[in-house]
Symmetry: C2
Subunit: 144 residues, 2 copies
Amino acid sequence: MALAPSDMFCFSLYSATHAMQQAYRPLLEELGVTYPQYLVLSALWSSDGPLTVGGIGQQVQLDSSTLTPLLKRLEAAELVERSRDPKDERQVRVALTENGSALEAKAAHIPECILEKTGLDIETLQRLRAEVLAVADKLRATGA
Amino acid sequence: MALAPSDMFCFSLYSATHAMQQAYRPLLEELGVTYPQYLVLSALWSSDGPLTVGGIGQQVQLDSSTLTPLLKRLEAAELVERSRDPKDERQVRVALTENGSALEAKAAHIPECILEKTGLDIETLQRLRAEVLAVADKLRATGA
DNA sequence: CAGGATTAAATCGTGCACAAAGGAATATAT
DNA sequence: ATATATTCCTTTGTGCACGATTTAATCCTG
C-alpha cells in the first residue's frame, strides 16, 4: 500500500509552504505585493545596493525565467527600477525606488506577526529553519 | 535592516519544497506525472475506493479550482475516471483506472530514492515531518 | 411542497515556477 | 583578428495555486 500524502515528508513541506503563504497573505496585501515578490524585496532590502537578476536568483533560488516577469511587475508597481549595467550590458541591475525602500518600514512588523502565528518560540523556529534548509541544500547538492 | 531570505523560516520551507520537487522530477518523469499529480494519485492508492474531489482536496489541501483541471489531465492520461455520484449528483467520484492502479507498483521505489537523496535516517525524517506538519496545522488553525 | 439557504464542482483571471529555445554581449582560443 | 564558446537575460508554453464567481443539486424551514 502506498503512503498517504500526510505520511510523506515532502508533503509536510508542501503543505507547510502553502499554509505559510496563506498566513502571509493578509499582511502582504497591505503592501500590495505577493509572497515571492516579498522575498525579492527582502533580498534588496538586506543588500547594500542594486543586485543583478542572477544575484537575486541565487538568494531566492529562482531562475531568470521566473524572475524577469516578476521584476517587471515590481517595476510596473514602481517599487524597483531595472537598467543594463554599462560595464557589462548582459547584466540587468535591479535597484529599489524610493517607494520600494520606503516599503521596508511598513514590512518591519511582519516577521514578528508570523512568529506569533506559528505559536513557537524563536529558538525552536531557528533550529527548524536550519534543519529544513540543510535538507534543501543536501537535495540540491545531490541532484547537481 | 530587513532579514535576508536565507534567515527566514518561511524561506527554508519555500526553498526545501522547490528542491524536493526537483528531486522528484526525474523519478516522476518516468511515470509521466507531475508532483501534485503524484500526491493525488498517492491519496487514491492509499484509499480503499474512489474519492470525491473534496475528499482529495482535504488530503492534499487543495481546493476544487486547482484540482478540477489537474484531475482532467489525469483523466486525459487515462489514469483516473470521473463520474457523478448517482446518490448525490453534486459530487464527482474519482476512481483509478487499471493503468492508474498499475502505476502504484512502478512508483513503489520512490520514497526510498528520496530518503536516500536527503542523506538522513528515517527517524530524523519522521521527526522533522511531524514538526513541520505541526507548524502547518497551527498556521491553518490560527488563520481560520 | 415551495422558496431560500447551503453545498459541491467548475470556470475565469492573475501570478508563480520551470524547461526549452533564443538572442545579445562578453570571454577565449586559435 | 576571427571564430567559438560562455554568460546573462528574455521569450514561450505547460502546469500548479488561489480568489471570486457561477452553476447545479440538495437541504431546510415553514
